[in-house]
């Protein structure tokens, strides 16, 4: 990419401060650990890490742009070459599965601290890449970076609690929340802390506003839309769905179902366990379904939409320049096309020119028969099938109505990943495609 060439000298000052903060942070961590005497090994490690950070900081601040530490070009190139929507989705899925499976390992503070530090270090090294920085440091996107770390932190805290509780439950001990169920005073324990938080947040907002002013972009124009045109960050998940679904489904049906599903959740939940304390083992199904919906189908899509979707909604590697000239192949086909033309080797059923409405509908139904059959099977046959196999116990506990609601909600939720997989593997555009009535699925 070409810029006006001031990038490295500009970012150097920031990175210097950034590495210094990392160094101080780890220094303090090392000091705390050292004073506890129990973890002197780790203390040494973090002290050394802190030293490395100091070196990086001094390199960044050396005043010479070529000394600013940056991820090697080869690695950046490799990352760019490897990244794509499939790898991203599968990769994040695998990563989340890994975190879940090895949660006992990851909840250890030192492991978490290591992961945290490594991610910050990678972030810093990547920031010296102009393309990466241009996206990550865009004032709009800075909160999303914060969101990643905040979510990670809170998830980690909750998981840690849950892991501890599960262990205690296994050993027959009461959960942590039960042990510490002392009542506390409204003042000072609640209101005072709230006040402190308020003061802290106010200070944070002030500093943020001073040093990272809101971006002022060009006046809106009806003849020129920004490229890429992005929804607000919280809707980026929905926007990503538009890649795979017709707008009425991705923009109307699915969001409504999300709200509906959230409302239905208390009524569907028959598991009495896990009330008032963190636990995974006792609510594995609920936990996994929720985390899948939340992380996989919302948060990762927001991150994808924010950082990796560039001009023309093309996918760009994290170190790739967002050129509007990038072109991707888009030769997706609908299921009827696939069925009738590619497999049956005959033209799509089409109503005669002057056919009446009913005849036309008849032809349309015939044309869309494969898709309708598939979807019918998915939504009508699959729930009972599941009820007598995998969800036999659930069906018994929930009763017909609750079970059907639950299974259909879940199946509809699963349409998204399924559709994504179908798109990647078969270039499938729509399963049912009735453009005559703007009904595509």
């Amino acid at each position: 990419m070409h810029s006006n060439g001031f990038f490295l000298s500009d970012v150097a000052g920031f990175l210097g401060g950034y590495y210094t903060v990392l160094a101080i942070m780890n220094g303090v961590a090392a000091l705390i650990l050292w004073r506890r005497q129990s973890r002197t090994g780790w203390a040494m490690t973090w002290a050394a890490f802190s030293g490395v950070m100091m070196i990086l900081a001094s390199l960044a601040l050396s005043g010479s742009a070529s000394m600013v530490p940056v991820l090697p070009q080869a690695i950046r190139q490799l990352v760019n070459d490897l990244s794509g929507p499939v790898l991203y989705t599968l990769g994040t899925t695998a990563f989340l599965v890994l975190l879940f499976v090895f949660r006992k390992f990851f909840v250890q503070p030192m492991v978490a601290w290591s992961v945290f530090n490594i991610s910050l270090l990678l972030l810093g090294l990547s920031m010296a890449d102009e393309n990466f920085a241009a996206i990550v440091m865009k004032p709009d996107n800075v909160p999303i970076v914060g969101l990643v770390f905040l979510l990670a932190f809170f998830t980690w805290v909750a998981t840690k609690q849950a892991v501890v509780n599960d262990e205690r439950i296994k050993q027959g001990l009461p959960v942590i929340e039960k042990v510490n169920d002392e009542k506390v005073l409204v003042w000072p324990d609640l209101v005072y802390t709230e006040l402190i938080c308020m003061v802290g947040v106010a200070a944070l907002l002030l500093v943020w506003a001073i040093f990272l002013p809101a971006p002022l972009e060009e006046p809106a124009s009806s003849v020129k839309t920004p490229n890429p045109s992005k929804a607000p960050w919280y809707f980026l998940g929905l926007q990503e769905m538009l890649v795979y679904f017709d707008p009425w489904y991705a923009g109307v049906v699915l969001p409504s179902l999300v709200v509906f599903g959230l409302m239905a959740m208390p009524y569907l939940d028959f598991n009495k366990k896990g009330n008032g304390y963190y636990s995974i083992e006792e609510r594995k199904f609920s936990y996994l379904v929720w985390q899948f919906g939340f992380f996989e189908l919302w948060i990762t899509l927001i991150i994808l939409g924010t950082f990796l979707r560039g001009p023309n909604w093309n996918f760009f590697g994290p170190f790739e320049f967002w050129t509007p000239y990038k072109v991707e192949v888009l030769n997706n086909v609908d299921l009827p096309q696939m069925f009738w033309v590619q497999w049956m080797n005959q033209p799509l059923p089409r109503a005669p020119q002057d056919a009446g409405l009913l005849t036309q509908i008849g032809y349309i139904l015939m044309r869309e028969a494969p898709g309708l059959l598939v979807m019918g099977a998915y939504l009508v046959l699959l729930p009972p099938l599941l009820a007598i196999t995998v969800f036999r116990g659930f069906f018994a506990k929930m009763g017909f109505v609750r079970y059907m609601v639950m299974s259909n909600l879940m199946l509809l939720m699963l349409t998204l990943p399924l559709k994504m997989v179908l798109r990647w593997t078969l270039n499938l555009k729509y399963i049912i495609s009735i453009p005559e009535f703007s009904l595509n699925f």
Partner: protein, 1499 residues
């Protein structure tokens, strides 16, 4: 569990956390307030305030110098003197008498009389002075007393009047209420009584008032002289007091300091955001237009400040370095030892150094320059920073003081380098005459800043204002200093310095109004005008339409479009196979449209006839093509006005041959290096591999095929037949003279005449080689010279009216044939090289077929295309269009058909028809992108392709094609990589580290493929600027490269395109400066006109001037004629221009000057010089034609002579006021000291180049015949200056003359040629002359032309016209030189003067009258003498009357010459003999006897 006092968290910790977070919040809040309070503009405002204070203080000091004090003392003394003078006893007596006339003042009068008496008897002067004062005070007291009484009387009168009003109202109310009669009478009586009282009071008041006024008036008279002296003193002190007030207002003080404190500053603090609200100059925010707010002056506080009293002189010019020669005394003056250095400087040089500099306290800054001191005369100014003395740098004050006082070689002048002016943002706008100033056409309050400069006007900090750097270095410095960045989101970034003139086009749609004019001699926008002229001359609009209209009434910008091609259509129709069968009127219309396409009638009829023919279907006589062309004859809503710039190629087959045409198309510059024709072929620097091979293979065939098409489609041309009776053989030498003096050089260049520089027409040095390429070339050239319009009806080449000339030896020569003979041998040895053989080789045929296939495949499927190529199309094929050529293809003519087909396709592809008239392309559309709003084109819609890689690649390898200007030189001289270091900021530590020498900025630009380092900062600033723009994908960069190497956008792209999809734009021979000018114009095309009241709409007179300028420019009137004289704004020492001559002439010829003009001419500036503005001609040397150089006595001197004060003789053409005295046109030349010219400004003349060029030539020619020739006479043989033409000639005559010129001056060596002007163009020129001279147009009424006034004159003197005729025919007067009727004076034809018989239709009466009175007042070089001096009328035998009456008589005769002649004429001889009636018997007056005045009808 019950609550306890135990808390969950440790309260102490919480307190600490709370405390810390509260402190953080406090710090954040304070930071917020600080950041908000310390906004950058406040710093600028404070600095500017200091600047103003400083300069006001300096001016106070300057004013308050010793000279000022001395003057004050002098005036005070004068006042004292007046005050000691005796009071006028008579006035005092009158005063006292008036006092005593009123009883109430009698006592005071008596006391005053006593005082007067005492004063008279007093001898002691001091005592007298005191007594005099007392007496005057007593007078004042008396007047005060009188005033007091008057006030009382006035009060009393007012009361009485009020009472009267009440009583009158009571009476009228009583009537209204119907009160009894008695009551009414009673009330009326009361009112009457009161009325009497009022009258009495009025009288008393009036008496008192008169008394007081009389007394005041008398006292004023008594003290008149001392009042006057006091006023002079007060005036003298006023300047200073005003300055002191300014100083007081500006200087910082405690109050201001308090008001500037945070929070308090919200309440009307002294520092505040300045903003200009421009509700009608809106900003287009896509969905709506919003009012513009310009806050630029918040920081740019000095923008509108002018020097007091000089509204166009910037008070704070932007910093620049000035060299000054400061004279020193011959030896160090002896000064009192205790003088401070400042006072020493003042004693020696007359200036002071401020104790502290302004922007840097250390710098030596001049504070006071005493008027007329050596320093002032040398040009030193207050505020100058002395940067170096005698070459040695003086960074701090003590060093400068030492250099000025100690280390001086006394007697020799000191060379000072002075930094003058202030840096941005404090400086003043440099053109206050045009912008910002209240008296300028663009006052700041009305126009703001951003409507011209663009940028974000509402911003109050540097980086958000979207400032635009002019060079990469500047962007670097700005970035480091102000945090500047390229804000892509603001779509109206400020125009960088190099393109700031672009904005003018928003409102100045005609563009020519931006050229220099008499009102603004300094060009207002030279670059954009240059761009406009280039586009006009190079014909960019032929391909790129620049449409200035978005609707018939909606003008959006400059309009450059090709005019409708009516005549081309008509010419095409004239060769239609069916044309011969059409009737005569149809042929007549076609002829009319060809010769005068601007007429509507013939065109309309022609179109109807064509449509009628078309409607006859199969019966139609004319071909389909003609029917299609009919649509082009319709008048569009807003027709274009620009002709195609290239010559017509409609008959090119009769003009040039294959060889020349081939070589020309291949590379026009090969034949004519100065050509404007761009290059289409051989532009391969961006190509490599297969793409290059393709070009090398196809281009020669394309050229050949184009030649084939042009030749075969060429229409037949009828050559002009030479004159009969020519007896002299054509002669080269004579021909050379013809080319030299018959006007060719006004437009053309030729190597034989290096001084002719006009580029209006093509260079002729090799014209012989071109024309000789065709067997009929010579005949063509002869025809062309004789009548260019016969070949090209719309050519701008005029018919120079070459007629047979009788030679001295009695033979008759044809100058046209002579010129042909000369031009045919002008070849410079050029011949077409590497021209292929006429027949195609098999390889060439193969390539040609491939090309044809490319085009055929666009029309037919591949297989059919191959078949068509092989066998042609069947005879009955319904195919229309270019492929029609393949119908019935015969093997024999296959090559020819293919060449023609490919040729036509290639011409269409390359859009040759954009500039040339080519048969078959009458209806072709412009080929390039329209440019009307290109200046706002969204860069994302511009295809940059891989061009930045190409440019970087070229720069990195030092290959730099296509450039002709300084950018090329810079890139060539040093490899870019080596140069990198030199452009880094000075002395930076990076310079020494080889590995890191480029610094941060450059890393992003490293071209890594071979280790070369190139960045915008590593090349020269101009290339760097555009490179930066190119890399950033901005419009400027695209345009730059498009103009340099238009085809380079195909770099690495040809591999993916077919041959015909490649870029087609040719390369124009622009140098870097021209390119930038063109870009300035194109970037200004934004199609965003502001509200109509801001768009420039000239007055009708100005509009006429502008319209005329366009025509004058197109036909190069200025090539021969001077349209505007030289102007010198000079600054001279009083008396340097000699004494004026006494004026002894007709009173109406006296110069007219306002008292202000006279007063201004006496005003000396700080250097003691006077200013004057001279308009006229420099006197030229008869041998060299260069401006003469003389000494103070007017004796010519050589430039290298020593001990001479050089002067320039100037012939005035406009009355000037110099030194308070008039210098009139027609007087002797002014000898202007060279130094006075250097100190001022010279604005060169516009036009008249040929006249100046030929001046020495015709003198030399004449010397061969007449050795005593007077150089000034030569002006009379050359194209005359047209200054004053508007007041001179009658508009209808001029219009007719322009369309069909006839000879006026027998002495002229060349005739006014006949241009192919349309009537509207001639009218525009006519109106132009009248408009610039302030004459009436188009209709003129002059009483002198009226028969009635003639009759009146003849009543006074019956012999009025006859007497005048006697003067005319007297051998001493008019007929001595002038042709009159059929009479021609004998002698040298060079001495002949114009025909007087035609004066009445040509000249304006007033002009004739004044001209006869003194011709030199109008034409300084004229040979015509003053025949009737004011004080010496001609013999009364000829005409009885005084001089003015005689002049009037002559004028009347000349203006009624035809009338006079008619009186001598009778129809008698022509009428048949009358029948026998009564009248026949009466005697008739004979035809030869003139009717007398008495016989005329009385009205």
């Amino acid at each position: 569990m019950p609550a306890t006092e135990q808390t969950w968290r440790d309260l102490k910790v919480l307190h600490v956390v709370f405390g810390v977070s509260a402190i953080i919040l406090l710090v954040a809040t304070v930071t917020m307030l600080t950041v908000d309070h310390n906004r950058p503009w406040k710093k600028y405002q404070r600095t500017f305030r200091a600047l103003e204070t400083w300069s006001a203080a300096a001016r106070v000091d300057a004013e308050n110098s010793r000279a000022f004090a001395e003057k004050t003392t002098e005036l005070e003394a004068a006042l004292g003197q007046v005050r000691r003078a005796d009071l006028d006893p008579q006035l005092v007596g009158q005063f006292l008498a008036q006092v005593e006339s009123v009883p109430a003042d009698a006592e005071a009068g008596a006391l005053a009389r006593a005082d007067v008496e005492q004063l008279r008897n007093e001898a002691d002067p001091d005592r007298r002075f005191a007594l005099r004062g007392d007496l005057l005070q007593r007078f004042v007291d008396i007047i005060d007393r009188a005033q007091f009484r008057e006030d009382q009387l006035a009060g009393s009168l007012k009361l009485r009047k009020a009472e009267l009003d009440k009583r009158r109202a009571d009476y009228e109310l009583a009537i209204a209420d119907g009160a009894p009669e008695s009551r009414q009478q009673e009330l009326l009586a009361l009112a009457d009584a009161k009325r009497a009282e009022v009258q009495e009071a009025t009288l008393a008041f009036q008496q008192g008032n008169a008394h007081r006024k009389t007394l005041s008036g008398m006292l004023k008279e008594i003290t008149a002289s001392e009042d006057a002296a006091a006023k002079v003193l007060a005036d003298h002190r006023q300047t200073l007091s005003l300055l002191r007030k300014t100083l007081g207002d500006r200087a910082p003080n405690l109050g201001k300091a308090v008001l500037e404190l945070p929070v308090l500053d919200a309440f009307n603090g002294p520092l505040r955001v300045d903003q200009i609200w421009l509700p009608k100059l809106t900003l287009n925010n896509n969905f709506r237009d919003v009012a513009r707010f310009d806050r630029c002056t918040t920081c740019h506080q000095g923008m509108a400040k002018s020097v007091p009293g000089q509204p166009t002189e910037p008070a704070y010019p932007e910093s620049s370095m000035v060299e000054i020669l400061l004279p020193t005394p011959t030896e160090r003056p002896e000064l009192a030892g205790d003088l401070t250095d400042t006072l020493q400087l003042e004693e020696i040089y007359g200036f002071q150094l401020s104790p502290a500099g302004l922007f840097d306290p250390e710098t030596p800054t001049v504070s006071v320059v005493l008027p007329e001191s050596p320093a002032a005369l040398a040009g030193l100014q207050s505020g100058d920073v002395i940067a170096a003395v005698g070459g040695g740098r003086t960074p701090i004050r003590p060093v400068a003081v030492a250099a000025l006082l100690e280390n001086v070689s006394w007697g020799a002048p000191l060379r000072l380098s002075v930094e003058r002016g202030v840096p941005q943002p404090y400086s003043t706008h440099p053109r206050l005459d045009l912008f910002v100033g209240d008296s300028s056409p663009h006052p700041m309050k009305t126009f703001g800043c951003t409507v011209c400069h663009e940028g974000q006007g509402s911003a109050t900090s540097f980086k958000w204002a979207s400032h635009s750097p002019n060079t990469p270095k500047q962007s670097h410095v700005w970035h480091d200093k102000y945090g500047w960045f390229n804000n892509h989101h603001w779509i109206f970034p400020m125009r960088p310095e190099r393109f700031e003139e672009s904005s003018c086009l928003k409102c100045h749609h005609q563009v020519v109004d931006l050229a220099s004019s008499e009102r603004f001699p300094e060009p207002p926008a030279p670059k954009v005008v240059e761009g406009y002229n280039l586009i006009r001359q190079y014909g960019c609009y032929g391909c790129h339409e620049i449409n200035g209209w978005s609707g018939p009434d909606d003008r959006i910008g400059p309009d450059l479009r090709v005019e409708p091609n009516y005549h081309e259509v008509a010419q095409a129709i004239s060769v239609d196979p069916g044309f011969a069968k059409m009737d005569a009127s149809f042929k007549g219309w076609v002829g009319d449209v060809i010769s005068s396409p601007d007429g509507n009638a013939a065109r309309g009829r022609l179109r109807e006839a064509l449509e009628a023919d078309a409607s006859r279907g199969d019966e139609a006589v004319l071909s389909d093509r003609s029917h299609v062309l009919a649509a082009l004859l319709k008048t569009p809503e807003t027709p274009g006005t620009f002709p195609r710039v290239g010559p017509s190629l409609r008959h090119v087959g009769s003009k040039v041959g294959f060889d020349w045409l081939y070589a020309w198309l291949r590379n026009p510059q090969d034949f004519r290096p100065s050509t404007k024709m761009p290059r289409f072929f051989g532009l391969w620097e961006h190509l490599e591999g297969a793409g290059l091979e393709e070009s090398q293979r196809y281009e020669p065939l394309e050229i050949r095929s184009m030649v084939a098409y042009l030749t075969s489609s060429s229409q037949p041309f009828e050559f002009v037949t030479p004159y009969e009776g020519i007896t002299a053989a054509p002669d080269v030498e004579r021909g050379k003279k013809v080319v030299e003096v018959r006007g060719c050089l006004a437009c053309h260049q030729h190597a034989d005449f290096p001084k002719a520089e006009s580029m209006h027409g093509p260079e002729l040095s090799r014209i012989g080689a071109k024309v000789a390429s065709h067997p009929d070339g010579k005949r063509w050239l002869y025809s062309w010279l004789r009548n260019p319009a016969a070949y090209h009806p719309r050519t701008i080449m005029p018919n120079v009216l070459l007629e047979p000339v009788a030679l001295a030896d009695g033979t008759v020569s044809d100058p046209a044939a002579d010129a042909v003979a000369y031009l045919m041998q002008s070849t410079e040895g050029w011949s077409a090289e590497d021209v292929p053989a006429a027949t195609l080789s098999s390889d060439e045929r193969q390539a040609l077929e491939e090309l044809a296939t490319l085009y055929l495949e666009g029309r037919f499927p591949a297989e059919k295309a191959a078949a068509v190529l092989k066998n042609g199309l069947p005879e009955d094929s319904p195919i229309r269009g270019d492929e029609e050529a393949f119908v019935g293809l015969a093997a024999a003519e296959r090559d020819e058909v293919l060449l023609n087909y490919v040729g036509k396709k290639t011409i269409g592809k390359l859009a040759c028809y954009g500039c040339h008239d080519i048969p078959g392309f009458e209806d072709a559309k412009p080929a390039g992108a329209a440019l009307a709003d290109w200046g706002r084109k969204d860069p994302s819609r511009i295809a940059f392709e891989q061009v930045s890689h190409f440019v970087m690649h070229e720069l990195a390898h030092g290959k730099h094609h296509g450039g002709h200007g300084h950018d090329e030189a810079a890139a060539h001289s040093t490899p870019a990589g080596e140069e990198a270091g030199h452009h880094e900021p000075e002395g930076g530590p990076e310079d020494t580290l080889p590995g890191d020498a480029l610094g941060a900025t450059d890393l992003a630009y490293v071209l890594r493929d071979d280790g070369e380092h190139v960045s915008p900062e590593s090349v020269d600033p101009d290339t760097g600027y555009f490179l930066e723009k190119l890399l950033g994908h901005e419009r400027e960069g695209f345009l730059w490269q498009k103009l340099r190497q238009p085809r380079s956008y195909d770099y690495k792209k040809v591999e993916n395109k077919s041959y015909n999809e490649r870029y087609r734009m040719p390369q124009f021979p622009f140098d870097a400066e021209q390119r930038e000018a063109v870009m300035t114009f194109v970037l200004g095309l934004v199609a965003e006109p502001p509200a109509p009241e801001f768009v420039y709409s000239p007055t009708p007179r100005e509009q006429a001037r502008l319209d005329g300028l366009v025509v004058a420019e197109r036909f190069n009137c200025g090539g021969c004629h001077t349209l505007q004289m030289d102007r010198w704004d000079i600054a001279f020492e009083p008396g340097a221009l000699g004494e004026p001559n006494a004026f002894n002439d007709y009173p109406f010829l006296r110069g007219h000057f306002t008292p202000k003009e006279v007063a201004d001419s006496l005003q000396t500036d700080v250097t003691g010089r006077l200013q004057a503005s001279l308009v006229g001609m420099p006197s030229l040397d008869a041998e060299t034609g260069e401006p003469q150089l003389v000494d103070e006595d007017g004796i010519p001197v050589e430039p290298d002579e020593e001990d001479v004060v050089f002067h320039r003789p100037v012939t005035l053409w406009k009355d000037a006021v110099v030194d308070g005295e008039p210098r009139l046109v027609g007087g002797p030349n002014l000898f202007v000291p060279e130094e006075a010219i250097q100190a001022g400004t010279h604005y060169p003349a516009k036009g008249g180049d040929l006249a100046r060029l030929l001046f020495p030539v015709v003198i030399e020619d004449e010397r061969a015949i007449n050795p005593n020739v007077k150089p000034d006479d030569a002006w009379g043989w050359l194209p005359p200056p047209l200054v004053g033409e508007g007041t001179k000639v009658q508009s209808p005559w001029l219009h007719k003359f322009l369309l069909n010129p006839h000879p006026i001056r027998p002495a002229a060596v060349l005739r006014m040629p006949k241009f192919n002007l349309q009537s509207s163009q001639a009218a525009a020129l006519t109106d132009y002359f009248a408009a610039v001279d302030g004459a009436d147009y188009p209709y003129v009424y002059d009483a002198r032309l009226d028969e009635a006034s003639l009759a009146k004159a003849e009543t006074r003197y019956p012999e009025h016209l006859e007497g005048a005729m006697r003067i005319v025919t007297n051998n001493n007067y008019c007929v001595k030189c002038h042709l009159v009727g059929d009479y021609a004076p004998p002698g040298n034809p060079k001495a002949l003067a114009p025909q007087l018989g035609r004066v009445h239709e040509r000249l304006r009466p007033e002009y004739v009258y004044e001209w006869i009175a003194n011709p030199k007042r109008f034409l300084p070089y004229t040979g015509m003498p003053v025949n009737i001096p004011h004080d010496k009328p001609v013999s009364q035998d000829l005409y009885h009357g005084d001089s003015e009456q005689q002049v009037g008589g002559l004028t009347d005769l000349l203006m009624h010459f035809d009338e006079f002649a008619k009186r001598q004429f009778s129809l008698e001889a022509y009428l048949p003999a009358p029948a026998n009636d009564a009248a026949a018997t009466q005697p008739t007056t004979t035809g030869t006897v003139a009717s007398t005045a008495t016989a005329l009808p009385s009205n």
